[in-house]
Subunit: 770 residues, 2 copies
C-alpha cells in the first residue's frame, strides 16, 4: 500500500511540474513481446504463479509454426481459440497450454477449434485488439463471434475466468483437453474428467511433450449450477474401448478417460456473469481441489489480491523515466517476476524429477528453470528484488531436485518438476554460488555445494567425463564442444568461489583449476574459442560465422562464444594481445556486415547487431566487456545502440525470446546502469543508466538509489560517478555496496570521458586480473 | 502349525489302516484349470496376495486368442515367454501380466519374445512339464533353451525369483514392459524405468486395458550387483523424441520413459543363483520400495513364510476323501483364497476408483471384485473360512470404494481399485448383506446400507431408472433386460433383509416391494423369464435357447435365467404350476439335447449338461432347486452328475472359467453337502457330501464337522441326516448352526430317500414360502 500511495506523489524527472506518474502496475504492458520474437503471453498471472491463464490464438501448429506460438498467443493472429492455464514466458522451445476453456452462447455448441486460417470456423472467435485489456493479473477481450466478454485473473495456484454471456442465450463452456502447445501427434498420453457430486469438475492430463510424462491435475468450480454436461472422447483410434461406464447412453456420465477428451458444460440462460475458478496441481486432483480451497474469493477479490501482490513485487524498484522507457523497464521487471514459478501445492506436496510426490518443508518448491538463460542476469536480479522469498526457494528447490534426480544431479532445464535436458552446462551452480556469495542464507550450503560438485563430476553428462580427463570437451565425441568447454569452466569457477568461501579448500582448489579450462578451447593463433578434436587439434574447416545445431557451438558461433569466460575476461584480453586488440575485436563483432548471412534455420537467432545477437543469451554480457579493456565509454555507446534497437513498448518490442525473464532482466540491470557480467564475482560492471532515477527497495528498509543527472538522448556518456557522494573511479560496483543501500549518481554528458575507468585498478573482476 | 501336525496324523476315511495323508498344501494342484476353460495360473502367490508371479506362455494373442490366455499360461503351449507379476485366477475377460522378467545366459541377449508358434525364436524358451513344480506359493521350471532353472515364490506384496544360470555363462535379465495380457494396440499408455543409486530398479506402467488408465509401480532388487544395464525404447512411432537424457550415447542411463520399454540387466558370471525381489504398488514407486522393505528375506524365507500362510488358510477345512476328490476340493479352496486380493500398500495407501490415492485406516483395501460371479458362493464361503480378515476387509473396501466412486455407487467389477463396468447387477449388495446378516461386524453398517441403496437407486446404471419406474428393465431401452430385472430384484431383496435387521424400516419396505419385481419379467403363459418392451409386451420373436451379447439375457438364455429368483423359488414354483411341473422343467433343462446347439460365439459358455451350463454362473444354484420342490433326491442325482463331469484333478479339470473362485467355491460347498442358494437368507440348501469327512475350523476354536457315512460311488443318495445327533428333516441348515460348531452327519445309500425333505416345512427359505 505504501508503494502505491507514494508513487502517485512522485515528482517526475523533468521537475517542471508535479505530474502524476502511474503506479508501476499501470506502467506494465503485458502485450510487449506477444508479437515479433518475444514469445511472451498477454494473459493473467500472479508473481511467480503456478497458473498463467492466457488466450491461445493457435494451437494447431506444425513443428515450424509451433516456434512462433510458443506462448500460445501471437499478436497478429485474428482469432482466439480459447483460454488455457499454463504458458511459458518467452521460451524458445515450448509445451503447456493446458486445460483450454472456451465459452459459447446459444443452442449449438461447437466441439472443434476450426482452422486458424479461416476465422469464423469452429469454436474459435475473432477479436479486436481494441477490446483487449492486458494488465498484470488481468486480461479481458471480447469474443466477437460469440458476443461474449471474457475476463481472466489469477492467484498463485488458481485462475479465475469471468464470462458475460449475451442476454437471453444459453451459456456453455467447452473444455478441450486435446489442445496443447507444441502439440505433436501422440503427445497426449492420457486424460480424465470427473464431475464430482458437489459440482466440482476435476481432471488431469498426461503429456509426452518437452517434459516427458508430465502430469497436470485441475479442479474447476462454477458460480452457477450446471444444467447439463457431456463428456466426449474424440479419439478415433481406440482399438479396445472396454466398458463405457455405468450409464450406457445416458448423459449422467460422471467420469471419462481417454486421449482426446472434451467436456461440454451447460448453464442455461444466466442473469449474471459466469465465474469459473480453476486450480492446478502437479500432484493429484485432491491437490487441485485443496489449492482451489486455499485461495477463496470471487473474480474481483482474486483480481484485487493479485494486483496488490504485483504492486508489492514491482515496488522493489521505483523508476523515474519518460513513459516509453518506464513502460519498457517495468514490463521487463514484470517479465522477470514470472519464473521460476511455484510448483508445490498449498500443502507443500509436489511432483519431482523422479515423477514421485515429495513434500517441500519450510519452502515453496519452484520449477520452470531455464538456467542456461537465467543464470546470467535473471537470477542475479532476483537476489536483489526477491532475495528471501524467491532466491531461497530457488536454491532449496534446485538442491531438492538434485536429491530426487534419477541421476543425482542439479536441474538443467526443468519445468513442472521434470527435467528436459535442454541446452548445456550446469548453470544451477552459478545461481546457487551467486546467492551464497551475496550472503543469502536459509538453505543447507553444504548440501548445495555437494550437489554442484556432483553435477560437475557426472561424467556421462554432455562430455563431462572427457572434459574432466582432458580439460576440454572433444568435438569428435560430443557436439557443441567449444561452448560446453567454456561454459563448464565458468560454472566450475563459481563452484570454486563458493567452496573457497565455505572453507572447503580441496573442492575450491580442484575447481579453480577447472575454471582455467576455457583456455584449452581457445585458439591463440586465431583468437577464437574453437572446438578441439580428441587428438588435440582444432576442428577444421572452421567458419566463425556458422550457426548450426550440433556444430562446435550452442545456438551461436565463434563470434559470441569467444567472449564467454566471464570469470577471466582479463585473461582473454591478454591472449588477444591487449586492450586495443580486444576493443578492435569487440568493434568488429558489433560492426560486422551481416547483410549476407541467413540464420533463419536456427531458432532464437534474432536481434542481430553485426555478430552481436541480442536476441540470444551468449551475447548478453559482451557489450560490457569494453570495461575490461579500460574503455567504459565504448560500453556506454554500445548499450545505447542495443537498448534503442532491441526494446520498445510495443507487441514486437522484444528482439528475441524473453527466455523466462533473461532478456528482461538484462534491460532492468542495464537501465539501472550496471550489469552482472560474472555472477559469483559479487561485482556489477557499470554501464550507463537509461532512467533518470531509480530506487531499489531492499530488505530491512534499505534503499539504493541510482540518479542519472542530465540524462538525455544526447547525454549518453558517463562523465563521472559518485557512490554515496564520493567519486567512484572503478567501472564496477560491489554487491555489498548495493545491498547496504546508498546512492549511485551518474553525471551524463554528450561527450565521452575516456579516462574514467581506464586504469588497471578500475577494471572489474577477473581470475587473472592484471 | 497345529494344522500341519494334526493333519499328518489324520486317519483316512477308509479306516482300514493308518496311512499318512498329505497336508492340505500338498493336496493342492495349481495346474488344475491351466488347460481347458479354467483360465487359472500355475505360478506363485500368497493367500489374497497382491502379486501373482506366474509364467506366461503367450502374450502375443489377438482378440480371440486372448480369451484362452486370460491368465497368461496355457498348459498345452510349448514355450514360456517369461514371468510376470499379476494374473487373474479364472477370469473370462482379462488384463494384467505386468513386468515380465526373462532370464538369459551367454553373450547374446535377445530383446524380442519371438513367435509362440515357433519355439526357439526370440527370448522365449521351450520347457518340459516334467520339469515343472507348482505348489501354493511356489513354482519352478527349467527353461530348456537357456539352460536356466527358474523358481518363483511370492509374499503378500512381493514376488521373488530365483534363477540358477549355467556355470561359466554371463547372467542377464530382460525386463519387458511391452508385454501385457489382452494386449490390444495402444494399450500401453506410458511406462518408466529408474535405476536408483543403491541399485534398486523401480518403474511403472500405465495401461489402457480392461481397467482404463490403470497404474502399476514396481521396485526390484537383486542378490548380485549389476555389472551393466541398458534401457531401450522399442517404440518406432514417436513423433517427438525430445531430449534423451543427460548421457547422450552413454550407457549410464538411469531413467527411461516411453511406451515400449525394455531393460537389459547384466550380472556377469555368477557363482550362486540370482535372487530377484520384486514389490508392486498401485500408489507410486516409493510405495513399491516400501512394500519391498516391508517383507524382508531371501527366496527360501519368503517361500517358507508363504507356505505357512497357505497351511493356515487351507487349514480352515480339514478333509478326508480319496486323493482325487481331496485334490479337487483343496485346489478349489486354494483357488477360492486368491481374490479379492490385497491392493493397499503396506502403509495403507491405495489408488481408488477415482484414480486418487487414499489411505485405508484399520483395514486392508482389497480389490479384484468379480461380483457377478462371486456373490453366489465365493463370498459366502469366505464368511465361513475368512470371516474376520477377508470378509471385513471386503465389506470395508466396497464401502470405501463407493465413497471414492465418481458415481457414488458400489463396485461392479473392480480390480486394481478401478471400475470396469463388467457384467450386470449391484451384487456388492448381497455380499455385504450376507456378511451382516451372518453377524459379521467390524464395519459401519449404516454407511454400508446407504451405499447399497445409493447403488440400487442410481438411475443411469443399466436401466435402473426404468426398473424403478416400471418394475422392470425394458428391452427396447436397455440390453439384457430380462437378466437385469431378475438380478436387481434379488439384490433388492438382500438390501431389504439387511435394512429390516437394522431396523431401517422404510428402506426395508421399499426394497421388499422391489424384491418382487422378478415377477414383472416372468411370462406366466410360457413359464419363462423374458424381456419386456416398454409397452409391457414380451419381446418377440423369442427363442429360449438363444445366447447372444446384448440379447434379452446376460451370458445365458431363458433356460438358465428362468430360475433366477433365489429369494423366491417357491413363488416361481407356484407360477410354474407346482412341484411336479417345476421338477419336470428342471429335468427338461438338464436332459435337453444340446447336440445341435453351437454357443462357440459366446465366451464362457462351457460345461453344458443339456441347458444347464456349469461353466458359467447363472446355472450354479439350479441343481439345488429340486429341494424347493420337495425332491432333494433329484438334487443329489444332479450333483453327482455335475461333479463327475465338471471337475477333475487335471490341467483341464475345470469345465469353465474359475471366475475368481466362484467355480471352486461351488465345489467346496457342494463337497461339504450344502450350498448357499440365496446369500442373505442365512440358509444353506442341503445337497449331498462328496467327501467322507470334513471339518470346518471356525473362529473361537469351534468346529463344524460333516460326516458322510457309507459314501461311495454307488451310495450317492442321502438316506438321512442328523444335526448334532438329532434327525434333521428339513433340507437346509442355518448359518448359525454351522457357525456354532457341531456335527452334520449324512447316511448315504444306493437308493434315494424320496420322503426326506419332501414336506412343506422341510423346504428352504423363500419370500413367499407356502
Amino acid at each position: 500500500m505504501r508503494i502505491l500511495l507514494s508513487l502517485a506523489l512522485v515528482i517526475s524527472g523533468t521537475a517542471a511540474a508535479q505530474t502524476t506518474v502511474p503506479a508501476p502496475i499501470d506502467a506494465v504492458d503485458p502485450m510487449i513481446g506477444t508479437g515479433g520474437e518475444g514469445h511472451t503471453f498477454p494473459g493473467a498471472t500472479a508473481p511467480f504463479g503456478m497458473v498463467q491463464l492466457s488466450p491461445d490464438t493457435d494451437t494447431s501448429c506444425e513443428i515450424r509454426a509451433c516456434y512462433g506460438h510458443a506462448a500460445g498467443y501471437r499478436f497478429e493472429d485474428p482469432t482466439i481459440q480459447g483460454f488455457s492455464h499454463t504458458h511459458f514466458s518467452g521460451a524458445g522451445h515450448s509445451d503447456l497450454g493446458d486445460v483450454l476453456v472456451m465459452p459459447q452462447a446459444g443452442e449449438q455448441v461447437r466441439l472443434d477449434p476450426g482452422d486458424p486460417r479461416r476465422p469464423g470456423s469452429g469454436y474459435r472467435s475473432r477479436f479486436d485488439h481494441a477490446s483487449e485489456v492486458a494488465r498484470p493479473g488481468y486480461y479481458a477481450v471480447t469474443l466477437a463471434d460469440h458476443d461474449i466478454r471474457a475476463e481472466l485473473t489469477a492467484g498463485t495456484r488458481i485462475g479465475v475466468h469471468r464470462y458475460s454471456f449475451p442476454a437471453g442465450r444459453a451459456a456453455h463452456l467447452l473444455i478441450d483437453l486435446r489442445t496443447s502447445l507444441y502439440n505433436y501427434p501422440g503427445k497426449i498420453l492420457w486424460s480424465g474428467l470427473h464431475l464430482r457430486p458437489d459440482g466440482t469438475l476435476t481432471g488431469f492430463r498426461e503429456t509426452r511433450g518437452w517434459a516427458p510424462g508430465r502430469k497436470l491435475y485441475f479442479a474447476m468450480r462454477f458460480s452457477a449450477p450446471l444444467t447439463g454436461h457431456a463428456f466426449v472422447d474424440r479419439d478415433t483410434a481406440v482399438a479396445y474401448k472396454g466398458f463405457q461406464g455405468p450409464g450406457r447412453g445416458s448423459d449422467a456420465v460422471a467420469e471419462k478417460l481417454g486421449r482426446a477428451l472434451e467436456a461440454q458444460l451447460d448453464f442455461g440462460r444466466l442473469t449474471a456473469p459466469l465465474e469459473v475458478r480453476v486450480a492446478l496441481s502437479g500432484v493429484d486432483e485432491a491437490g487441485a481441489v485443496a489449492n482451489l480451497d486455499a485461495e477463496p474469493g470471487g473474480f474481483d477479490a482474486i483480481r484485487g489480491a493479485t494486483a496488490q501482490a504485483w504492486a508489492k513485487a514491482l515496488g522493489a524498484i521505483e523508476i523515474d523515466a519518460p513513459a516509453p522507457m518506464r513502460t519498457n523497464v517495468y514490463t521487463a521487471l514484470y517479465h522477470a517476476l514470472l519464473a521460476p514459478s511455484v510448483w508445490s501445492d498449498a500443502d507443500g506436496r509436489y511432483r519431482g524429477p523422479d515423477d514421485q510426490v515429495h513434500v517441500a518443508k519450510g519452502f515453496t518448491f519452484r520449477s520452470t528453470f531455464s538456467l542456461w538463460d537465467t543464470f546470467r542476469a535473471e537470477h542475479p536480479l532476483l537476489t536483489l528484488v526477491q532475495p528471501a522469498q524467491t532466491t531461497v526457494d530457488v536454491v532449496r528447490s534446485l538442491v531438492e531436485s538434485r536429491r530426487h534426480s534419477p541421476y543425482g544431479i542439479l536441474p538443467v532445464w526443468q519445468f513442472a518438476g521434470r527435467e528436459t535436458w535442454t541446452m548445456i552446462g550446469y548453470h544451477a551452480a552459478p545461481v546457487i554460488a551467486d546467492a551464497y556469495l551475496k550472503g543469502i542464507r536459509g538453505f543447507d550450503a553444504d548440501a548445495a555445494l555437494d550437489a554442484m560438485v556432483a553435477s560437475a563430476d557426472y561424467a556421462p553428462y554432455g562430455g563431462l567425463g572427457d572434459y574432466i580427463a582432458r580439460g576440454y570437451v572433444a568435438i569428435d565425441k560430443e557436439p557443441e564442444a567449444a561452448s560446453k568447454t567454456v561454459e563448464y569452466a565458468y560454472d566450475d569457477w563459481t563452484i570454486a568461489r563458493m567452496a573457497r568461501a565455505m572453507g572447503r579448500t580441496q573442492i575450491a582448489d580442484r575447481f579453480e583449476r577447472r575454471a582455467g579450462y576455457w583456455r584449452n578451447s581457445f585458439d591463440a593463433s586465431t583468437g577464437w574459442v574453437r572446438a578441439r578434436l580428441s587428438s588435440g587439434a582444432f576442428r577444421t574447416p572452421f567458419d566463425p560465422t556458422a550457426i548450426n545445431y550440433g556444430s562446435d557451438y550452442t545456438e551461436g558461433n565463434a563470434w559470441q562464444y569467444s567472449w564467454f569466460m566471464p570469470q577471466d575476461e582479463a585473461g582473454l584480453i591478454r591472449l588477444l594481445g591487449g586492450d586495443a586488440k580486444a576493443i578492435a575485436k569487440l568493434d568488429a563483432m558489433f560492426d560486422y556486415d551481416n547483410s549476407k548471412l541467413d540464420y533463419s534455420h536456427a531458432e532464437d537467432i534474432a536481434g542481430l547487431i553485426g555478430q552481436y545477437i541480442h536476441g540470444n543469451e551468449p551475447s548478453h554480457h559482451v557489450a560490457y566487456l569494453y570495461n575490461f579493456a579500460g574503455a567504459p565509454w565504448r560500453t556506454q555507446e554500445r548499450l545505447a545502440q542495443i537498448v534503442a534497437s532491441q526494446y520498445k513498448p510495443a507487441p514486437d518490442g522484444l528482439a528475441g525470446n524473453d527466455d523466462l525473464g533473461q532478456m528482461s532482466a538484462w534491460l532492468v540491470f542495464t537501465a539501472l546502469g550496471f550489469y552482472p557480467v560474472a555472477p559469483g564475482s559479487n561485482e556489477y560492471v557499470i554501464g550507463r543508466p537509461f532512467v533518470d532515477r531509480a530506487m531499489l527497495n531492499l530488505p530491512g528498509g534499505k534503499r539504493f538509489t541510482v540518479i542519472a543527472d542530465g540524462l538525455s538522448a544526447t547525454n549518453r556518456y558517463v562523465a563521472g560517478v559518485t557512490l554515496n557522494g564520493a567519486a567512484l573511479e572503478r567501472s564496477y560496483i560491489r554487491d555489498e555496496e548495493v545491498r547496504a543501500g546508498g546512492e549511485l549518481r551518474f553525471t551524463m554528458s554528450a561527450s565521452p570521458n575516456k579516462l574514467w575507468g581506464s586504469g588497471e585498478a578500475a577494471r572489474p573482476f577477473s581470475m587473472s586480473k592484471r
